[in-house]
């Protein structure tokens, strides 16, 4: 079969490769200050915005129409008409699998074959995600969406490698006492597992696990782009070359429309040109050459019941005391329950963050916060004059805002603990927190200050933070308290604190007062 005179498979490879390059370029452009030429013309998260599962779960779960996600409904319509063309032509994870297949084929690995018996698993995962959405939650299972998954791999695995301004650590779970950029081990392990299994069975993720694939498969049951095999000679070459095992191995004329990703490999591989795709009126799901997926009722009902039981459990915050206080979201995030409903765990915000303060949460804040972005002010502050995370967010979980209005609402509040401050315990002059505060929210009590032309300062150390000891019977200038109405919770004071005990700064940023309007001076 050909498209405008060119074999359709080649057209598909060109389009798929181009879209993958576009995706990679957009991911690369997702960094501060978000002003790349490409990013200015195409939203960096366009691939997530056209994802129909994301649109369904976020808008249905929050009961809010998110304008930027309406493109996902277009993909729904396309799938109704043409089947799973998104999987075969657009999906960046699918393109990764195809590229991987092409490479291992060079080494003689043949991994096309029938699907495993558990290929229906994806429908149950999809069912669980949708039931969560019915109850107004976004299940962490949305992190298994292919576009979300590969974006998170780029953000939480590849991105930290690319950073040159600090060390990185491998981490999963609790992390507040580490410094550096974290590579999310759970995402990396999942990706390695997927690629490992793909070596054995092609596109195993698309066949058995992908919830988006299940959604599109359900829609494409009656698509109008159908395979015709009237001249089939039953050589089974197409069955053996189908990357998703959609063609029956006993009788090559039978195929599963829901599993077909319209890659047209069968069409090109057919030695007698018998595999043709033509536009036809909607077929019955099981026409003479059609094979349909039948779900096991018991398994489906079991999934539904398990999910219903899991919904309240998944909302449990965490067993760690005080963890909610350290759950600091990016500035201008939605209210916590809405944030959890609208965050898809893609990691775009973490990719965009210039300081690396945004990290994926492990299980320290409970299952419901898994892979969501959390500020880690002990490691880095939220950069002044930056709104990269909000621009990158594909679902408006972090609302879009102009940079000059960044501090209109609080992300949290810093709390001062004099018992950990060196100006109180050791009589040293520091005031580093006062110097770095962007909103002048820290009140000070004036006292002794070192000579700005003193010996230490000749070494390039500023007066603040020089840690010079005050003369006997004199107290240095020191912080007194943090003004709640002016503090925006950026975490700059916590990052800069000269900690007596490593990991226990005198200024601790908390999520208290989040989204309360601040009274900082007008810009």
């Amino acid at each position: 079969m050909a498209l405008f005179g060119v074999p359709t498979r080649r057209v598909r490879i060109v389009i798929q490769s181009s879209l993958f390059i576009l995706w990679a370029a957009l991911i690369y452009s997702t960094h501060y200050p978000m002003q790349s030429w490409l990013g200015n013309h195409i939203p960096v998260s366009i691939f997530l915005r056209i994802d129909p599962l994301v649109a369904t779960v976020i808008m249905g779960g929050m009961r809010v129409g998110v304008t930027i996600l309406l493109l996902g409904l277009v993909t729904l319509g396309v799938s109704l008409l043409l089947g799973r063309v998104f999987c075969g032509w657009v999906c960046p994870l699918g393109a990764t699998f195809d590229f991987y297949s092409w490479i291992i084929k060079k080494f003689g690995v043949r991994h096309h074959g029938p699907s495993p018996s558990w290929f229906r698993l994806k429908y149950y995962i999809l069912g669980a995600i949708l039931i969560f959405a019915l109850f107004g939650s976004t299940s962490p299972l949305i992190g298994l969406d292919p576009v979300v998954l590969i974006t998170r791999v780029a953000a939480a695995v590849l991105q930290p490698f690319g950073r040159v301004d600090g060390a990185f650590h491998w981490s999963v779970g609790d992390r507040p006492h580490f410094m550096g950029h974290f590579i999310d081990l759970s995402t990396l392990a999942l990706f390695i597992l997927i690629m490992g299994y793909t070596t054995k069975v092609s596109r195993i993720w698309c066949r058995a696990v992908c919830p988006l694939g299940a959604y599109l498969a359900s829609l494409s049951r009656h698509s109008i782009l159908r395979r015709e095999t009237d001249q089939c000679v039953h050589c089974n070459i197409c069955s053996a070359s189908c990357p998703t095992g959609a063609i029956d191995f006993q009788n090559a004329e039978i195929y599963n429309e829901s599993e077909c990703i319209k890659c047209f490999i069968c069409s090109e591989e057919c030695p007698v040109d018998a595999n043709l795709f033509a536009l036809r009126l909607p077929f019955k799901a099981n026409d003479k050459h059609g094979q349909v997926v039948e779900l096991d009722r018991r398994a489906f009902i079991g999934t539904a019941v398990t999910t219903l039981v899991a919904v309240p459990f998944a909302r449990i915050e965490s067993g760690v005391p005080g963890s909610i206080k350290k759950l600091i979201r990016p500035p201008m995030s939605r209210e916590e329950s809405d944030f959890l409903s609208s965050c898809i765990r893609c990691g775009e915000c973490m990719k965009a963050c210039p300081t690396g303060t945004l990290k994926p949460a492990g299980l320290e804040h409970g299952l419901r916060s898994l892979w969501t972005p959390v500020m880690t002010p002990l490691e880095a502050p939220c950069k002044e004059g930056c709104n990269a995370c909000s621009v990158a967010c594909p679902t408006d979980a972090i609302l879009k805002y102009p940079i000059e209005k960044k501090y209109t609402f609080k992300a949290g509040t810093a709390v001062f603990n004099p018992a950990s401050c060196i100006s109180y315990t050791e009589g040293k002059f520091c005031s580093e927190c006062v110097r770095v505060c962007p909103t002048n929210a820290i009140s000070i009590k004036k006292g002794w200050e070192p000579n700005p032309s003193g010996p230490q300062h000749k070494w390039g150390i500023s007066a603040a933070g020089s840690e010079e000891i005050a003369p006997p019977k004199k107290t240095p200038t020191r912080p007194v308290h943090v003004n709640f109405d002016m503090c925006v919770g950026c975490g700059a004071c916590e990052t800069s604190c000269n900690q007596i005990v490593f990991g226990q700064p005198a200024m601790v940023t908390t999520s208290q007062g989040r989204a309360v309007p601040t009274t900082m001076p007008k810009a």
Binding site: M1, A2, L3, F4, T8, I15, I42, P43, I46, R49, A55, T56, M59, G60, M62, R63, V64, G65, T67, I68, V74, T75, L82, Y123, G127, L130, I131, A133, L134, Y215, S218, R221, L225, H234, N251, E253, I254, P271, D273, F277, A278, A285, N286, K288, H289, E294, L295, F300, M332, S333, R334, E335, D396, L399, K400, Y401, P402, T408, F409, A515
Partner: protein, 106 residues
């Protein structure tokens, strides 16, 4: 082998190509329409804080129909489908041998 195509099937799917071209062009340009009212207008300074609040959204319970629609679509796979025996060439061969051996008459 390549010459086995007596019915002369059309090798060019112009309609599909046209549909696909339109769809890709639309997808890559439609974000402009969707982006129009994305940015939160906080340009009114401190007064903006009075009417803008991240806690407040215009919710519409009708949006729940989206996941319900998706669940119904998935639920269609639970419906029993009558099995059919495709009349392939292999089956035709078997039938031929059954007929000549007289198995069908028994």
């Amino acid at each position: 082998m390549k010459k086995i195509n007596p019915k002369k099937y059309r090798k060019y799917s112009r309609t599909f190509g046209l549909l696909l071209t339109i769809l890709i062009a639309f997808t890559l340009t439609a974000h402009a329409i969707a982006d129009e009212d994305v940015a939160v207008n906080l340009d009114d300074g401190a007064e903006a804080a009075d009417f803008f609040n991240p806690y407040l959204f215009a919710r519409d319970p009708l949006w729940i129909l989206l996941p319900i629609f998706a669940l119904i679509i998935v639920g269609l796979h639970l419906m029993p489908v009558p099995k059919r025996n495709p009349k392939s060439k292999i089956d035709q061969g078997k039938r031929f041998f059954r007929e000549i051996s007289g198995e069908d008459k028994k």
